[in-house]
Amino acid sequence: MAAIVRISSVCNRGVKPLFYRSSLLSRPLVAQQKDQERSYPLTARIHGSTSLYAGSGSKAASLHWTGERVVSVLLLAMGPAAYYFPGPAVDYSLAAALTLHGHWGIGQVLTDYVHGEPKIKMANAGLFLLSTVTFAGLCYFNYNDVGICKAVALLWSK
């Protein structure tokens, strides 16, 4: 911890430079020691990345996240698409995108508020059922009735 004092510095340049030199030398020494102290627990705290532990990591969650954002952007694009190009293509795409976006969205809500293995399973099963019925209903509406785009147009014209 003490500064390394060189006899030559005292002899050649007097006392003052010695003080300055000692303070300059002591600080890096302290820093180096702190570095060494800290590096030990730092290695212990390092959690291996997925590349470290062979294959036990799954990319499912990360891919799900990306999928959610992709569907969100697609749904955004379908707004103007529905307005400028109404028809069965947009109707069915809208049915799919709306259902999937809603399914994943409610899924996040359930993950946040429902706890306990059996409750989580039941809630997700219920959600799956609801989303299936929703998609079926929307497709039925597109096929047997006026379709989503026309329905919105009619609703708004009243």
């Binding site: 890096p28 959690h47 036990s56 969650a61 955004l76 019925v133 929703t134 079926a136 209903g137 006026v146």
Partner: protein, 165 residues
Amino acid sequence: MTFTRQGTCLFRPQFGILYRHAVPMGTTANEEMNRFWAKNNKLNRPMSPHLTIYKWSMPMMMSITHRGTGVGLSGGISAFALLALVLPGNYPYYLDLIHSLSVGPALLGLAKFGIAFPLSYHTLNGIRHLFWDSGKGFKIPEVYRSGYVVIALSILTSIAAISYM
């Protein structure tokens, strides 16, 4: 005098010797969350007050509104789909039925606003979320500014949508 920058070496896999104290994560975030809830429920621990004690902020309110409008819109779509499957007549029939009730322009406008506002708010705030997902706009003043913009635009677009046809 030199001293190695040990911080950077820790993150390179080839420096295996530095990892001898590292323990790879054996659990996912999901597993850890479930363990937390299982343990605390088993011990019958009461939940700490949170919503009732922390001061509500604009970002907090906007966040829960985003969730609320999302759930509401999703419920509305599901209800619509269910009715489409269950009810006998077709859409124009029911539309005329509602129209024949002659609810009046004020209530009609209110109903349209009730549909338009959640949709525009959720959409615009959704775009704000996508900006955050790309890493932008996290500084606190930016969060508040973008929030106010979303609210203002939501109200404006809803009013525009009502006045449109």
